[in-house]
């Protein structure tokens, strides 16, 4: 437990990463899913996206049927990493969330996704 800018009772966030994914046709699109750990609320403090090609990504989080998204558009090969001490979902702690690719990757394209979150664990897609 740490003291931070908003509450002395927030938990230390942790990075959740996929392995480096080399896409081959027929496989599931690169994606990463997290869910709130038992008895905790999930907050997203940042994200990491690496892609060897242009694509769009959807960072999403939900509680029940209520659902919010942030579209991160990559104009070409590259990496973006964002993090801040104010959670992106400050007023909307998640029970389920993740990052997914919008478009099907090219054969052999390389991806890696990450989310910086507190109170969460890896989960399988719903």
């Amino acid at each position: 437990m740490i003291l931070n800018e908003s509450s002395p009772y927030r938990y230390v966030p942790t990075w959740f990463f996929t392995d480096e994914i080399v896409y081959t046709s027929g496989m599931t699109k690169p994606e990463l899913y997290i869910g709130s750990a038992y008895g905790m609320v999930g907050h997203i403090y940042g994200y990491y996206i690496y892609a060897s090609e242009e694509n769009d990504f959807i960072l999403f989080w939900s509680v029940g049927d209520d659902y919010k998204t942030v579209r991160i558009s990559m104009p070409g090969p590259g990496m973006v990493m964002y993090m801040n001490s104010t959670p992106i979902n400050y007023d909307f702690p998640l029970t389920y969330g993740g990052i997914t690719t919008v478009y099907t990757p090219s054969e052999g394209a390389v991806y890696r996704l990450g989310i910086l979150a507190s109170g969460c664990v890896f989960v399988e897609p719903l």
Partner: protein, 191 residues
Amino acid sequence: MSGVETVSVRESTVKALKSKTDKLTFDSNNRLAVQNPPNLDVLLSTRASESTLSAIKSKTDNLDIALTSLSRLIKWGRDVSPTWVHASEVTAPVAGTALVSWSVPTGKVGYVYGFFISAGEGNDFKLNWTSGTTAYSRRVVFSSKGSLHFVDVIALNEGLPANAGSTITITNVNAGSAGIVYQAALLVVAV
């Protein structure tokens, strides 16, 4: 061990025990007396009352609140905790569409600590607010598709707070092309 030696050892043991028991004293009722007993009257008179303990607890409880306020002051320059205002994706927005908007509550002023813009093509964007009698804007240029997540500990409109009841928006300058997705968000706080 000889018999003489055994008696000698026993005597020394008894003498040692006697030196200890000699230190014990008994009162007239043969009750063991306690040497230098604590003064219970003094102890009871100096013990904190329940109300005093309760008052101390209320102070220590407030310490958590004070530390939180202090950490916010250090982080944001004022005792605030900005939050994100999210908006849904918009496809092919007409020019000047408010991709995200936030109304400053009555009796408060608004500060913008960050924004998010995502666009599937190049375009210009404006962050708009009104302070006093002047309308302000900050232009953000996208030369091609992409996304931008910006946050700082100094408000973008520091010294120029958005008026109470006014609306802060992010708008696209040029119309979006057919099928192209846009999205924006604001990190704001009312003071």
